[in-house]
Amino acid sequence: MVGLPYDCVANPHGAVRLTFEKAVAASQDADSVAALCGKDWGAVDLFRMFLFEEDGLSKVPILNKSSLPWIKPNTLVRFRGMVQDMLGNELYIGAFKDGSTWRTNKFTDVACRPIPSSCQSFLWERRLFVCVPVPGQNSWILDAAPQVVLNSYDKDDASQHGEKRMRDASHDAMELNVLDEMDSSCSKKQREDEHIFQSCQSLVGEAVLQGGMLENRNNLGESSFSCLVKAYDLPESHLKLNDVFEFIGIYTFDPELVHMSSTDDSSFDLMEDVSNQLPPNKVPRLHCLVSRKLAVQDFLSGSLALQPLPNVMSDIRESLLVHLSALLGNDTVAAQFLLLHLLSRVRHTMDVIAVGKLSLNLTGFNRESASVFGNQLNDIIMELFPFSKVIPLSVEYLNNAVLQPRKDNQSGRLVTGVLQLAEGTHLTIDETHLQAGVLNSVGVENARLLKNLMEWQTVQYDFEYYKIEMAADIQMLIFSEGKSNILPADMILPFRPESFVRVKKASTEELQAWRWYLATVKSLHYSNGPQVQQMLEDEIVAAMREDRSLGYKDLERVLIMAQLLSASLGERSVSLEQWQKAKELEKLRKERLR
């Protein structure tokens, strides 16, 4: 506390109070306080300045499962997560008159001093969100997040372990199965050093030991770490379900509240507050001061600052293609398609059509090749994308898995499902495990959900009395033996590996470059000039003349491919060359299908 009468990190409430007093000091009448409703009086600006201009961001500790025990209540923290549930609004006494001075309760759970029973006060509103770590987040985004030196303790390795544990949490049981299989395969020796699964596994033991200590305070499962974010003065549309956000705010924990919630009278048994199900000792509260939506770029480590120059782009593209084709057993065509698939995203929805999606179905796998090539691909996808998931599709899985997010009206919570995913998540579906069998009603529903996601990029959420469709943007890759009929992909490509080479693990620099490349290309805005447009139209007409069997969908696909090909080189509009190339690729694909 040198220079400033408060410390933004250690005593954020001080800053809030100070600015509030300053704002009120101008005039003591109620009107000036009333005017503060739904507005910021300078506190947020102060924090913004501290965080972004005075470079305070790096001093703010990250709130996660492992750091929770060490972070002191009422300090500034940040939390990265996905909005999993919205609990609606909460009314609180925003400002009250204590004697002759106005005090505020904003950004806190507990009034700084008791509110007199009858006094002038104002009711303000805040919005409650339940946020969870992004489903399927990969370990590298945690490593990439800047390390924070915590003053309260200097066990750097402890925090690292914690992060590894988080990473562990991100693999669900299914992936662990994959891991087992992989271990049994011959490849074990070579991967030992840097392999993520390996490192993960070796850490499991330690993590459990660590966990034992943690469990005293948080006896919840690994994956159920969540955070109740209380947001102030945000426009409704600012936050959407499944958005990935970074919240910087005040972590509060009040032992008294814990006590209170356990001794409830049951006069309104039904109208139990939803947040009561999220006991403060298990779910930390975060009073959000600053929030921002995170894009993939935000997960890249800052050290890499490349310019999207054409030659840089094409170099990286080349190296990525080489790596991909090596992973695919030198099947260069498949590698090209895979690259296009990796670059795709939903650019727009035109009434019902999601434009820009490009799902890929690699056929011709059998169990062995799926475990070899599939795992290699999964590994690289995990390294490339911040969020990814693998679903080994089997009858049993379809019949038992909870894919659909469902609203539990009794508890008022949204119960998450596998398909509640953040925008831009990569989903790999391994159909090679699928055997003939009988689907029950859950299985049929799950298959339908997957199909709808594939075709329309929407996920239906079950609200018991009705269903709501939520738009999604999920890249879907399917491995199957024959053409998948359950999941009709945009592109079906028989996979033809020439050889199986053990691929050297990509270096960190390479990976970083690729991640940057994918993120940049995906966020590239393209626009076609009128000339290009005319050229494309002519080309499409010519293509249709050439081949009468070309349908609407085929044309769309080629166009998307051409666009992605151009984008992959950093170009903003489609060139004739890329259109030809796309057609060429499509031809190669059709030949294989024959």
Binding site: Y92, I115, E236, F268, L270, R347, D351, S523
Partner: protein
């Protein structure tokens, strides 16, 4: 409290005056008498009545209901006692509920902001959970054996309108510490129930979860709704301190204390049309190109298929159903089927229907068994109880069922929907359950051709591969094919590339949320623009080309309103002129199909076709918001039907030519009606190889036609399916200018029988 009492008394007086005036018609007196008769104790007051009595009173009532509810209830009690002194027992009172327009106080759970606290609001939503009904003590009476005195104590909580809430402490000893005995029989209780109400899905904003509000209902309102009901609840929005003491954390919970609960039926999710909307609907109906405009507005992302889109519009509007006195039900719903190559946007069209139709349920042929479509008796595995389960078609009663992959359905399932499609009921007679469920729905089905792709060398029927009995139940059957026309190719190219260009311009992460589906739902404004803004990039240079004014499209929101209005408010009647015309056209169609060798049409022309024409014409009249079906409607209907039957892609030019040809044809028909089909370009279907004159030299074709017209009209007017020959003779001779001999009649009828249109047995002819 004392100050308050003055206000209360003033409010009561004001309200008594209102009741005295009684809208000038004795309306509320009658309502009170009805209430007494029905043994109810709540009177619903219309806000508009109060508003027209005194704007100020209404305004204050909405802003500060707490000051009014009690006085109003007092006033009502007093008036009721005057009406029927015996009705109310001591201590009973009449409660007040409110209804009517609440202006901006009509909200969804999402809009309930802190600014509404303490005011009266009308909230609409879905009840998601209900608690048990519990008694709540209002007054407890205690007897003290030591002093032989009765003491009573009142309890108030957040729901009471007067006084401050009291504690819930139950006295067990009096002031002197003597034990008290509670006289349960003398205590007063009231019913109490809490509900959770959730925002309706139509109103929820994109990417947001629906909000919930808690509601407390009491007395006669308990059990007035159950989970899953759509309700509109009028009540006072109140904040109550959180369970943990309010002084500590300052967090409040909010509840709605209801005074009126009204259930909304399926219809209630209908759009609300403002006067402005109605005006604009009428304007649109007056335009010459209403049909084109609406057709173009359906699924703009799908290029072309204008006729199918038009048919979709007619299907959503539907005809008029008739229930004859003899119990016959004539369906008014239009069924249609699309058959075509894979990847010709059939499924997308279905999805577009889902988005526009007021009630639409989608299913697939593969995914649903006959049970899933109609209804089934199932037995509970645990209890063994038999249950009736409604399938998609029953659930979509009065709506649309979209069935994708119709061809994948197995035969048994198809049989089970035969009944539903024509009779529109599902009859179940199984396991001791006999039930007939209504399934008055339109079916829109999509199927792939039997050989995967459409084989142009085969007849349509062979390609479709569905039994005729089922096909005839579809009013319209479209063959959706890739179009082979350089001009169309060009347009598709333009469409594809523009769609992509449009989206790519938009870029950014949030782009995909801006889909049309959502933006339209975003604007809660009743007077939203009805035309989609012209976007040069999206809609390309169509205007410049000057071919068609296609840039005009209605927004989905307005289209929904239009469809809903036209479907439900307009019930057109057939005019004589139209009926004549239909009869003539039907005869023409019959002739054409009878003489075409290969059965070139997609659907057999049967009496059902006749019904189809009526339905389509009626739907078209609805589209024009007319209460009469005119000749023009019939023409429009026939164009759709012709397109469906002869699966023609008619470009504009062809269309115009065809119209000219039709004119020509009509002129020619006067001279040589036998050749009319030849004049038409529809070679594949209407080609007439042998002119049937050969067999019937003694009767001129004009006479045959006139005969058939009369017969057709008669059948149409009376909904007959069989008629005796002598009756036919009588009939035609009554109507026709020149009489037909019995021999002539018989020979014409024989001709018709040869053409498989009627069946004659024992002097009775049956219309097939």
């Amino acid at each position: 409290m004392e100050v308050n009492e003055d206000v209360m008394a003033a409010n009561k007086r004001a309200f008594l005056n209102f009741l005295d005036e009684d809208v000038g018609k004795g309306f509320y007196m009658k309502a009170i008498r009805d209430m007494v008769q029905n043994k109810r104790c709540r009177l619903i007051l219309g806000m508009d009545d109060i508003r027209s009595y005194s704007l100020d009173l209404a305004r204050r009532l909405i802003r500060n209901p707490g000051d009014f509810i009690q006085p109003i209830s007092d006033a009502l009690t007093e008036v009721t006692r005057n009406v029927d002194p015996k009705y109310l027992k001591e201590g009973e009172r009449v409660l007040a509920g409110f209804s009517g327009p609440f202006g901006f106080h009509k909200v969804t759970p999402r809009d309930l902001m802190s600014s509404f606290i303490g005011s009266m609001v009308c909230v609409e939503g879905i009840v998601t959970k209900c608690s048990l009904v519990r008694p709540k003590v209002v007054k407890s009476v205690h007897y003290c054996p030591t002093t032989s005195l009765f003491t009573s104590r009142e309890y108030r909580d957040i729901t009471s309108m007067t006084g401050l809430p009291t504690g819930s402490v139950y006295p067990t000893r009096d002031e002197n510490g003597n034990l008290l005995v509670t006289e349960y029989g003398l205590c007063e209780y009231k019913d109490h129930q809490t509900l959770s109400m959730q925002e309706v899905p139509e109103n929820s904003a994109p990417g947001q979860l629906p909000r919930t509000v808690d509601v407390i209902i009491e007395d006669d309102l308990v059990d007035s709704c159950k989970p899953g009901d759509r309700v509109s609840i009028v009540g006072i929005y109140k904040a109550l301190p959180g369970k943990s003491k309010g002084s500590l954390n300052g967090v409040f919970r909010t509840v709605l204390i209801a005074n009126n609960v009204s259930l909304l039926n399926k219809e209630a999710n209908a759009p609300i049309y403002s006067l402005e909307d109605l005006k604009r609907m009428k304007e649109i109906a007056k335009r010459n190109d209403t049909f084109d405009l609406l057709g173009n507005s359906v699924a703009p992302s799908i290029y072309g298929h204008l006729w199918i889109k038009k048919a979709v519009i007619l299907l959503m509007l539907g005809g008029v159903e008739k229930n004859l006195k003899n119990g016959t039900h004539l369906r008014g719903d239009i069924n249609m089927m699309m058959v075509g190559d894979p990847s010709v946007a059939k499924s997308q069209l279905l999805r577009a229907v889902m988005n526009i139709a007021p009630l639409a349920i989608s299913t697939t042929g593969r995914g649903s068994s006959g049970v899933g479509l109609t209804a089934a008796v199932t037995s509970d595995q645990e209890t063994g109880e038999k249950r009736l389960e409604a399938g998609a078609m029953v659930l979509a009663d009065r709506g649309v069922v979209c069935i994708d992959e119709f061809d994948k359905m197995n035969d048994q399932d198809r049989v089970s929907i035969h009944e539903v499609m024509e009779q529109q009921t599902v009859t179940i007679a199984k396991a001791g359950i006999h039930a007939s469920l209504n399934a008055r729905c339109s079916v829109i089905a999509a199927a792939n051709p039997i050989y995967g792709t459409y084989d142009r060398s085969l007849t349509p029927t062979k390609n479709i591969g569905l039994p005729d009995s089922l096909l005839s139940r579809f009013d319209l059957l479209f063959i959706v094919l890739d179009q082979m026309d350089p001009e169309i190719d060009r347009q598709i190219a333009e469409h594809v590339s523009h769609m992509h260009r449009y989206c790519t311009d938009d870029g950014g992460i949030g782009a995909f949320e801006k889909g049309a589906r959502y933006t339209e739902e975003d604007d809660g404004d009743v007077n939203a623009p009805i035309f989609v803004k012209y976007d040069r990039v999206l809609h390309g240079h169509e205007k410049k080309r000057g071919k068609r004014q296609k840039n005009e499209r209605l927004t989905i929101k307005f289209l929904k309103k239009y469809v809903h209005y036209a479907k439900n408010r307009i019930q057109p009647k057939l005019t004589d002129e139209a009926a004549d015309h239909i009869a003539t056209l039907y005869a023409e169609l019959r002739d054409a199909s009878a003489s075409a060798k290969s059965g070139g049409g997609t659907l057999p022309i049967t009496a059902r076709t006749l019904e189809t024409i009526i339905r389509l014409s009626t739907a078209h009249a609805k589209l024009k918001l007319r209460n009469e079906v005119l000749k023009g409607d019939v023409e429009a209907a026939l164009m759709v039907l012709n397109f469906a039957i002869y699966h023609k892609e008619l470009t504009d030019m062809e269309e115009r030519e065809q119209r000219e040809r039709e004119m020509e044809m009509k002129q020619k028909a006067d001279h040589d009606p036998g050749h009319d089909a030849d004049m038409d370009g529809r070679t594949d279907a209407m080609e007439v190889d042998e002119v049937p004159e050969v067999e019937t030299d003694e009767i001129s074709p004009e006479r045959i036609e006139a005969f058939e017209t009369i017969l057709g009209q008669h059948v149409l007017a009376n909904h007959l399916d069989q008629i005796s020959i002598s009756e036919v003779e009588r009939l035609v001779n009554r109507e026709a200018p020149a009489p037909y001999t019995r021999r002539q009649v018989e020979s014409i009828l024989e001709r018709m029988q040869d053409a498989n249109r009627i069946m004659i047995r024992d002097g009775i002819l049956r219309i097939i």
